[in-house]
Amino acid sequence: MSLPLKISAHEEMIGTKRGFSLARREEITGWLFITPMLIGFIVFSFGPILASLIISFTDWDLLQAPKFVGFVNFAKLFKDDYFIQCMSNTLYFVITMVPIILVVAMTLAIILNQNIRGKAFFRSVFYFPSVVSTVAISMVWLWVFSPSDNGLLNTILHKIGVMNTPDWLGNIATVKPSLVLMRTWQSAGYYMVIFLAGLQTISPELYEVADIDGASKWEKLIHITIPLLSPVTFFVTIMLMLAAFNIFEAIYVMTEGGPGGATNTIMYYIYHNGFRLYQMGYASALAWVLFLILVVLTIIQFKLRKEESQ
């Protein structure tokens, strides 16, 4: 008990000399340490979010002065067929990519958490595509999906006898599934590693106890692994949802929103409106509506989780 006294007496001495108490000094230091990050985020993150709202109330093409138009952009938005189109396209990607990649990643993680020969090799190999940029991967996958016999996918399918191969990226019905396939291939490994990290936190004793009770592999999976992974699953679901909303590079390189607007996602539409048609106000309105949707979705997710854990 003498130590704290010693500290406080010592500090008190210095403190009173400078007129600051220990707690006060810690407070100042605490703030100082976060100041660089905080200032940066205020300038480049929080500020812009607010600015985006303000811009969404204007009609601005960057070259002339902005004109205040009130809620016109938002009214336009709800009547815009392309907005509805891009929301439904984005929704498609969310509904498909989140569960598919989640299941694939979790499965791979569970498999590679066991004692399999070469598991470090497999882990690395599956993780690798997520490290390469989407732009480079898109160039490669243009060849995978190329129509006619020059495409890798078509050639493989032809070899196993499937002759009637569609124009993957040029056909409205197949373009979205193709992109989902590509993104799953690219990012499943990344989320697999996150699940692996989560699996490390499950204490092996639980499995041993279950073994003693005679639980089968399947039962262990359902009753131990998956429930205990739920914080990670939750985290990954949110990340995947954000990633699905953010799809841009693959579309920019491979399909440019087509064919016929089938891959016109919200991110691409915002880019198109902002940096092709120069409608900064409208693009900002789109961004804000999207932001609100995401906030609502995330709050719903958090609420569901709260209920679940209760």
Binding site: D61, L62, L63, Q64, Y82, L142, S146, P147, S148, D149, N150, M163, N164, D167, L169, G170, I172, G258, P259, G260, G261, F275, R276, L277, Y278
Partner: protein, 415 residues
């Protein structure tokens, strides 16, 4: 670790400053010219540069390229301000109203002499004007003709089409040039990039157009227009003589990539398309476009402009003046960049170069200039998106044209 980090930061800071140190002025005035061509592959640009610098030794021309989505990207550059704003900017005529209205390009009336204005073909002069002011100088004028791949024609034992051939003749020839393998087309008779001017070429051959002459109303629902668009849709979907965009783009992002790869027998284009064909030693011949209800071609004017924010408008004008002068236009013609916009240029040598060059010059006489509209950017965006669904077979021509005309009402009125 402390000192290591310090060294690293110092090192990086030095490298940060390096790029700004390089690029110090050399004593010559630099004029940066932006275009959509690659200087290294463009003999026309190289010629223009060397001839200009001969008579202007104190100016150095540097050519930059924006290879795709030119108009959108270059507008970003101008809007962004800063060092990258070029001194001279190539611009297609359909963008002049949009750029002029937004103040992205500078009016050139104070630089231009009356004599210069009078020396241009009227259609050229109209294209360069907006709201009574002249905003651009002519780069050249292009008429559209049909390019035929002689090798593919010979292989299919089809005769090169002659003047006066009709749409039906065209369709028959296209069918003969299309080859299938395993139920998939590996060679096509005709390809057209789905740009507004390419579609316009077919519209006018049938006596149709995008809008009324005063640009107040969209008239794609008229029967002549619908007929033309239906003909084009059939080429892709019914007769399958024209590849889809994905099929064509696998050979490259350029409009003429599939033709260059020898996979397409015919393609409509202007004189500048022949530059790439010559570079690749293709054996081709040019013939007039087929006749719809009448013989017509599109005249398209490309121009040079001075963007807002150009550092030295005087120097910029010097360059533009040369490019569009009689001497510059002679180079333009001789290097096949395009047909001269100035009436004073001598076409004799050009006509002697190849017999089919005459086709290009003749086409000018029955060319209708491409429609540039004040709200062209939005209008053509609307029509392109709707027509895209037609080319994919997702929408009928009737539906799409009705929708375009209806939605265009607001757009053309400026709302």
């Amino acid at each position: 670790m402390n000192s290591f980090k310090r060294i690293l930061i110092v090192f990086l800071t030095i490298l940060l400053l390096l790029p700004t140190a390089v690029g110090a002025p050399k004593g010559k005035t630099e004029v940066r010219v932006m275009s959509w061509w690659n200087y290294l592959q463009s003999k026309p640009l190289q010629e223009l540069k060397s001839k200009f610098e001969e008579s202007n030794p104190d100016i150095e021309l540097i050519f930059d390229q924006i290879p795709s989505k030119y108009a959108d990207k270059v507008l970003t550059v101008v809007a962004g301000g800063g060092d990258q704003v070029p001194d001279v900017m190539m611009l297609a005529m359909d963008r002049i109203p949009q750029f002029a209205k937004a103040g992205a390009i500078q009016p050139l009336d104070s630089f231009m002499t009356d004599a210069y204005k009078k020396s241009l073909y009227p259609v050229v002069f109209d294209a360069l004007t907006y709201n009574g002011k002249t905003y651009a100088a002519a780069r050249d004028i292009t008429s559209f003709v049909m390019f035929c791949n002689k090798k593919l024609f010979a292989e299919a034992k089809v005769e090169i089409p002659k003047d006066g051939w009709t749409w039906n003749d065209f369709l028959e020839i296209a069918k003969k040039l299309t080859k299938f393998q395993n139920n998939k087309a590996v060679q096509w008779g005709y390809y057209f990039p789905k740009h507004d001017d390419a579609v316009f070429t077919w519209l006018i051959q049938n006596g149709a157009s995008y809008t009324t002459p005063d640009a107040k109303e969209s008239v794609l629902s008229k029967p002549e227009a619908r007929q033309a668009l239906q003909f084009l849709q059939d080429l892709i979907l019914k007769h399958k003589v024209c590849p889809t965009e994905t099929e064509a783009k696998q050979f490259g992002t350029d409009a003429s990539a599939a033709f260059l790869a020898g996979k397409v027998g015919m393609q409509a284009g202007g004189l500048s398309m022949s530059v790439a064909l010559d570079n690749n030693n293709m054996d081709y011949v040019m013939v007039p476009l087929p006749k719809g209800s009448k013989q017509a071609s599109t005249a398209f004017v490309n121009s040079w402009t001075i963007p807002r924010g150009a550092k030295n408008p005087q120097a910029s004008w010097k360059v533009i003046e040369f490019f569009s002068s009689k001497e510059g236009q002679q180079i333009v013609l001789d290097t096949k960049m395009g047909l001269p916009a100035s009436k004073e240029v001598d076409t004799g040598a050009f006509l002697k170069q190849r017999p089919d060059n005459k086709v290009l010059v003749d086409a000018l006489s029955y060319s209708i200039p491409f429609q540039t509209l004040e709200y062209g950017a939005k209008y053509y965006d609307l029509s392109k998106k709707n027509l895209e669904l037609v080319w994919l077979g997702q929408k009928s021509v009737e539906e799409a044209t009705a929708e375009i005309d209806q939605k265009a009402q607001d757009i053309l009125a400026g709302k």
